[in-house]
């Protein structure tokens, strides 16, 4: 039996992107999703 394994964590499986959007609302509603500068340097 190899000591190496690919799976380390349990995870939730989503069916589609609706599940992803629902996850945002249920798990992280007030967390910051995006941050950027009003006027980036470019």
């Amino acid at each position: 039996m190899s000591k190496y394994k690919s799976k380390l964590y349990d995870a939730t499986k989503m069916q589609d992107f609706r599940d992803l959007v629902a996850r945002y609302s249920s798990l992280y509603p007030n967390e910051i999703a995006f941050e950027y500068k009003e006027n980036p340097r470019f």
Partner: protein
């Protein structure tokens, strides 16, 4: 006022805009509602813009409204944008102000299926993104609930991606939402990305590597996605956004590593750092991790918070890999293709092996097809992440999808512990007349280790006798050479590089792999927006010029 605005643009504003997940969801629903109201259900909608918030809202508004998103490469020349808009049969396009001119021309020509031109910025010529958001919010407040009633078939094409064109003709890859969700599910079992993380987004979002790993898997995990000011400003942005991780290509990390090492060398601390690394790694074996404390000064130069790097797309030198690991940064190497949504294999938080791309992700089966005596053969993948096929291109689909296996066109092997190693693209292998194979990447890794080399490309120059002369185009870092060898003549430079190639590359290889010709330049190689060298185009250019 305008002058002040321009100065702010040049210097970069310190004012950060922060968007909560609640706001993100609200905007997705509003835009989705407005797009449905325009009659775009089931239609294809293209997006083209630099990485920005509106790109992400558009992507999820389109896909969660049962439309097909067609992300386009932001760096395409105008004629190719027009070509892909026509080929995609998109009926709407969402773009930012950089593309006003090209879409005005396309609109005037009336040669595409586009009915709606939507600009992310202010515009008096096109429908604006903000007006659609406003309309969507109004409809929602009036009880218009078509968005909520949309049903998604997660196995149908939802994302249509044109391959980046390291070959001459791009194909359109059809991915379903299920494909991507399966890849996220697999990734989440390998590595621990948390809501406390901030990832800097600078690889183009139209590419699945960035969109799946940073945007979709990242937000699945609740991270903050920070948009970079541009590739030149990565180091500054690391500190400004308190970045904890990013997804990148090895070339960037190798450049970053060389810079770090140069800084250490200038301070006369090379030996000290090496010795401390040995001590830290020894302690690590007994469960004591002091790397981030010992190397605090170096880590502070990288913003101070950087803890995880995800690299893919090409092979990376062992020295740079070990260098980042020694600093206490969790460097994960992975492998994937657009056709596989994209990640197929990756190192995980616990198990890594220098030079490998880790294990096949949970749920993904990889086999080595037709291996040679060294165990090297074509990498084939069977997984729920494998694409539906190439859009309207049955022949191309049949070439790569056989009995539910996707044949990647990449060569590789498994070691005894199950780590996957990718040796190169099947079509890039140089097959000599004596039947020996040469993998350009193997030589390029050694060449790129030379301090003054920015990048390189190894190729076979066709000879009259039908064999190949192993050659290397080497891009040197002019600034670095000016410092270390001021006023060096071309002849002396050639001698310097030749001596280094002989000592550091050829002498480490069997004779048939010796580099016999070098071309020196300080001009970067031709690359895709994901920083992959366009070997085909480079080779054409080299042969044309010689």
């Amino acid at each position: 006022m305008k002058l002040l605005l321009n100065i702010k643009k040049i210097l970069g504003s310190k004012e950060h805009i922060k968007i909560t997940y609640n706001q993100f969801v609200k905007d997705i629903k509003a835009l989705g509602t407005a797009l449905i109201n325009l009659g775009l259900s089931k239609k294809r909608i293209a997006i083209i813009a630099p990485n920005r918030y509106e790109w992400c809202v558009s992507y999820l508004a389109i896909t969660t409204s049962d439309m097909v998103v067609v992300p386009l490469d932001k760096s395409l020349p105008n004629n190719e944008i027009e070509d892909l808009i026509i080929r995609s049969k998109a009926e709407a396009v969402i773009f930012d102000e950089h593309y006003n001119e090209v879409f005005q021309k396309i609109a005037d020509k009336k040669n595409s299926d586009i009915s709606f031109y939507i600009c992310m910025d202010n515009s008096d010529k096109f429908i604006t993104y903000s007006s659609l958001l406003e309309k969507g919010n109004l409809l929602l407040s009036q009880g218009y609930n078509n968005y909520d009633n949309v049903e998604i078939n997660n196995k149908e094409m939802s994302i249509m991606l044109f391959t980046s064109g390291t070959t001459s003709i791009s194909k359109a890859v059809a991915l379903s939402q299920s494909n991507i969700c399966e890849d996220i599910y697999s990734l989440a079992q390998m590595t621990d990305i948390r809501k406390e993380d901030t990832f800097l987004s600078f690889l183009p979002l139209h590419h699945t590597f960035e969109s799946t790993c940073t945007f979709l898997y990242g937000t699945f995990s609740g991270i903050t996605v920070a948009f970079c000011d541009g590739i030149k400003y990565v180091q500054k942005n690391l500190a400004e956004f308190k970045v904890t991780g990013f997804v990148c290509v090895p070339l960037m990390l190798e450049i970053m590593y060389k810079k770090i090492m140069k800084g250490i060398e200038e301070k006369g601390k090379t030996k000290l750092v090496k010795n401390m690394s040995k001590i830290c790694n020894g302690l690590l074996h007994v469960g004591i991790d002091i790397r981030r404390k010992v190397f605090k000064e170096i880590l502070d130069n990288l913003g101070g918070k950087l803890r995880i790097l995800i690299a893919g797309g090409a092979a990376m030198g062992k020295e740079a890999i070990q260098g980042f690991l020694d600093l206490g940064i969790n460097l994960l190497q992975g492998y994937g293709l657009t056709e596989t949504s994209p990640v197929v294999a990756g190192e995980n938080d616990k198990f890594k092996r220098c030079g490998s791309v880790g294990f096949p992700l949970p749920g993904i089966t990889v086999k080595i097809d037709n291996p040679n005596e060294e165990g090297i053969g074509e990498i084939a993948v069977k997984a729920p992440t494998v694409m539906i096929g190439y859009v309207e291109n049955e022949n191309a689909t049949k070439e790569v999808l056989k009995d539910n296996w996707f044949y990647t066109g990449d060569l590789g092997y498994f070691d005894k512990d199950g780590f996957l190693f990718v040796t190169g693209r099947k079509k890039d292998v140089i097959v000599l007349k004596n039947g020996k194979n040469i993998f350009p990447e193997e030589l390029e890794i050694l060449i790129n280790k030379l301090a003054y080399v920015s990048e390189s490309m190894v190729f076979g120059r066709p000879c009259e006798d039908g064999d190949y002369k192993i050659s290397a185009k080497i891009v040197y870092n002019k600034d670095m050479l000016d410092e270390t060898h001021p006023n060096i003549s071309n002849e002396d430079l050639l001698n310097l590089v030749w001596n280094d190639i002989k000592e550091n590359v050829n002498h480490k290889m069997p004779a048939y792999k010796y580099i016999r010709e070098i071309i020196l330049t300080d001009k970067p190689l031709i690359k895709t927006t994901t920083q992959k060298v366009k070997r085909h185009e480079e080779l054409k250019l080299i042969l044309k010029n010689s």
